[in-house]
Symmetry: C2
Amino acid sequence: MIMSNRVTVEILNIGDELLLGIRTNSHLTYLGKQLSLLGLKIDHCQVVPDKEDSIKAAFAIATERSDIVITTGGLGPTEDDLTRESLAKLLGKKLIYNEAVFDSIKDRFLKLGRKVSEIHKKQCYQIEGSEILKNERGTAPGLLIKQDACTIILLPGPTHELIPMFEKQVLPYAKNNFCAQADHTYVQLRTCGIGESSVEDLVSPIVKQCGFAEIAFCVHLGIVDVRLSLADKTKNLDQLNQVADACRLALGDNFVGYGDISLSQVIFQKLREHQKTLAVAESCTGGLLGNAFTDIPGASKVFQGGVICYANEVKISQVSVPEEIIDQHGAVSGECAIAMASGVAENLSSDYGLSITGFAGPEGGNKENPVGTIHIGFHSSFGIWAKSVRYLGGRMDVKARAVNAALDWMRRLLIRQEQTDINGYTI
Amino acid sequence: MIMSNRVTVEILNIGDELLLGIRTNSHLTYLGKQLSLLGLKIDHCQVVPDKEDSIKAAFAIATERSDIVITTGGLGPTEDDLTRESLAKLLGKKLIYNEAVFDSIKDRFLKLGRKVSEIHKKQCYQIEGSEILKNERGTAPGLLIKQDACTIILLPGPTHELIPMFEKQVLPYAKNNFCAQADHTYVQLRTCGIGESSVEDLVSPIVKQCGFAEIAFCVHLGIVDVRLSLADKTKNLDQLNQVADACRLALGDNFVGYGDISLSQVIFQKLREHQKTLAVAESCTGGLLGNAFTDIPGASKVFQGGVICYANEVKISQVSVPEEIIDQHGAVSGECAIAMASGVAENLSSDYGLSITGFAGPEGGNKENPVGTIHIGFHSSFGIWAKSVRYLGGRMDVKARAVNAALDWMRRLLIRQEQTDINGYTI
């Protein structure tokens, strides 16, 4: 069924926990990203409580207006898992017990040294006429059902079960059945250090002039993403890439990279290229800066480690901050930030040192350095600097923004160094 | 308008980025939690792209079936911000320019040393008959409009703008207008260390027997939350708390705490009570363990700091792991974990040391310790232990689960120590 018209996709995320604020709907994010890589776009999303009536009503709307309906959640063994049952009732189809599913659950539990309980039999029923999607990581199988022109795919809620099921079974199916050409139809430019309206001022004129691209912006913690997509299907990705490249030039150093590349990845790549190493010292961010580097597979090639010097004694003993600096300038100061960056680079034998110290709040701070004040220190063979920034917002927010500010600053300093190197003024 | 029947609430989250997988819908989580504290429940949520037709269609459905409709996003200055415009068209109302809004944007920019641009005028239009909700943290004001029986509230997309607007303006309004009694109508029990079906086996019989509570489960990274809510409005919160307490006893040490308390908060409280301090040493989790403690305001009373000993040399130099241990057992071993925990406790002068070393993947690992293997070490005055766990899943997932496993294990060891203390066998 290769379709010439655009395929419409709808997601139903089922679960009280999503509406009660217990859990964030990361499934929508995951599916949105995966499907857009196939050139498919989610047109609608409904988040639905664990109630038969609500689930049936959402299915009725979705199967009527969409070509593909993907649900997440409500396939588990407990009583509030009602997706399978509600859809069967809506379609007027029977639920049929599948012994093979029960056997595979028994097998799985045996390996884990657990006993299967009666409660798991609930997961062994499949809707008449449906196909089973195997669950490698849990007990609840997924289901795929065709109903008139609509394909309905039921996926389990736990992320570690959903992802392999989607990637190994649903993705190949979607590619074969719904994608005339499995093309990337968008280009994303990531920027940091300037506001959304400034980014728009720089790139919008370029995009408008080309006349065949759509533009969307997304702001998160100091980062502004610009997504360009093809509005005119007679144009191709190469042409879109040319527009993106013009935008990149207009953005200058504010351009971080294409796609989802993180600030820490950009730094990682630059240091890797020059075979340099990095260590971090952090106070108020308490591990979040180090975490940004260790999220990168193979980080150990560049990242030596770090010190979370939360207590002042730890700043003195572990990253060799002179006691006088803390006495004279305070632990939240540019002087202390520089001492931390240099100390950690020296003690952990790394080429670069990056540090953060500040007041994340809600308490602490003083007249000179109110809550939200962050000092960042940078140590390198070409110089030692400190910089300060200030953020409003809650503790978590300040921590996350401080990490992005430190990373973006180091990224810019490395670019400046590269430019100096090219011009022959290596320090 | 104090309503006797249940008030129905609907959320419209507007923004392509939510459907393209660029951003996770954290607004729904935030609003769900805030509203449920008021005793209000979200009945529907639609996530909608930045298209006039889609926004209008979603508004049409929502205003028809819901008493309160809250939107997030699409109020910004850029061209893809269409919420205000689309709603005005649907309702057949004019957009009226409000000079005072422009003046406040100019003021704000002046303070920040920026110049206001023409593009911001777009945000100064309000729908005829609407009230302005002031934006303390950004440029786009919110709007509140009554249309027949429905109250429509438009909130901006950026989280740091939305939260203060919601808490200072929308929350008091909702309390006064929609909540006959602003009661907490649920109790949440957080558990860790056992699976969802085991939790259900323990608590469901108790909840069923009481006959007036509803139960919902939510699983995230090794944690299972149980939410009990009142199904019978003639019963009160005290009676629900009695049921929750019976569940707590049935859960034993698997019970972490009530509400949203984190594993690190439980440890923090216990150590604070006994005036003890903690330091952490972490390899593969790279800062995430330290971060769990520094997310707690006032963490410095307990948390000394930590060492991210990613490179083996850092394990040796900073947390005094004997070289022979790495040579003989490897850096990913129980022996190394114990040495890290003891070394960091000693070097950072803390009473307790907690450590994590492992292979987070996707590469690394060996026959004995395949990818996903995590060793946790614990150092205390009453003993030194190591424990190993193994997780399937991606790098981020393994890191997050390893942190939860280490925290939960320390929590249980502290409980065991307290029980020993009570029984008079203090070590």
